[in-house]
Symmetry: C2
């Protein structure tokens, strides 16, 4: 047995099921998958694009978002290592146009699976079906949670929670503009600025240009839990 190539090692790290997959799927995967590197800040897909490959992220992250009236945006989900863009998969399956925007947030390494192989493996390999349906399921649940969040929760609670996510729950510095935070949560910059000023008045954060310093994570947590 030849030892795994560096590309195989990269893939195994995020798709462990491939290690134990049927030899035929394993062979087909590495015969068809194309390794690609994409720098940060590059559009992977624009709304209305046709998709030719399914990208599986090996390292880095990409943001999938919708853009709305008056330049507002909302993040639908992120692709992290092991994720694949299920909207792309759905486009490949149904021969539809891509319904959102996808942009790399960091340098990304991905394995591209050609549309024809993606399709054929769905019929041929249980392990591949399980992987693809698992992705679909997780995204559906994530997007339904987003509907809940946007519908039922107050923006101040959502922003408090988002700040805590960025500092991993502790005190810390967040390098982000109010605009970027607004685009994450689907609101206007003015709304974010107003809420941050209130958080500052409460002593939970201090604000400087392009910088939010979380100094009282407990205060933010209390706000996040209010609804």
């Amino acid at each position: 047995m030849t030892p795994p190539s560096p590309f195989q090692e990269e893939v195994y790290a995020v798709l462990p099921f491939l290690r134990t997959a049927p030899a035929a799927l394993h062979e087909a995967f590495f015969a068809r998958a194309i390794r690609t590197e994409v720098p940060a800040g590059r559009y992977l897909c624009m709304e209305g694009d046709r998709c030719l490959h399914l990208p599986i992220v090996l390292s880095g992250s990409a943001r999938i978002y919708k853009s709305g009236w008056q330049g507002r945006e909302i993040t639908l989900y992120r692709l992290e290592p092991g994720d694949s863009c299920i909207l792309t998969a759905s486009c490949l399956i149904g021969n539809h146009d891509f319904p959102a925007f996808a942009v790399t947030e960091t340098d990304v390494v991905a394995a591209l699976i050609p549309a024809a192989s993606f399709h054929r493996w769905l019929g041929e390999y249980e392990a591949w079906r399980t992987y693809v349906f698992g992705l679909l399921w997780n995204r559906l649940i994530e997007i339904i949670s987003l509907v809940e969040e946007v519908t039922f929760r107050r923006m101040d609670a959502r922003l408090a929670e988002h700040l805590l996510k960025l500092t991993e729950g502790g005190p810390g510095a967040i390098h982000a503009t109010h605009e970027a935070l607004a685009d994450e949560l689907g609101t206007a910059r003015e709304v974010v600025s107003r809420i941050l000023k209130e958080f500052e008045r409460q002593g939970w954060v201090t604000l400087a240009r392009g910088l939010i310093q979380v100094c009282d994570p407990h205060g933010l947590l209390g706000k996040a839990r209010q609804g």
Copy 2:
């Protein structure tokens, strides 16, 4: 060839692909599918339930919704004839609990597909995969549109559009409480009542207990298009 049974005719009407499906899928479908009738107002699934069957709606409609803080609700989507509950499918696939509520709005006739058959056919029949992935795709797109709608649109525009949907774009009577309209759109009853009063002041609707009379659909349309 024996003529189709009444059940087969019902199924063909909503799943035309079965007429031309491989004989083996056709045979398996009618050997396994169970015809069931559910009266209006019955819960099909509660949040946290385990699903044992995939229901395919043959007639009637069911509402899939999330329930939030303070008794608020929002409709995620509806099952109409030919639809199947893709959240149920996802639960079957991933062995998860059902993440929402499903309730019949009218009397419903459905064909129930046992989980094991649903799974087996995904591996065996291209036509079945195409049907199931098509459902998944449509729901994902619908739920992403809902995220957009809730995030970017004003409630008065959404309510105007919803009233027009209920009267099919024309003038007409809507028998619904303000509470039911609020639960549809994910807001509070008071918000719906306030907006409806404003619509009445504009002369677009007249209000009575449990009744909204749309008298100026053009006025509502203008509001719906404002954002």
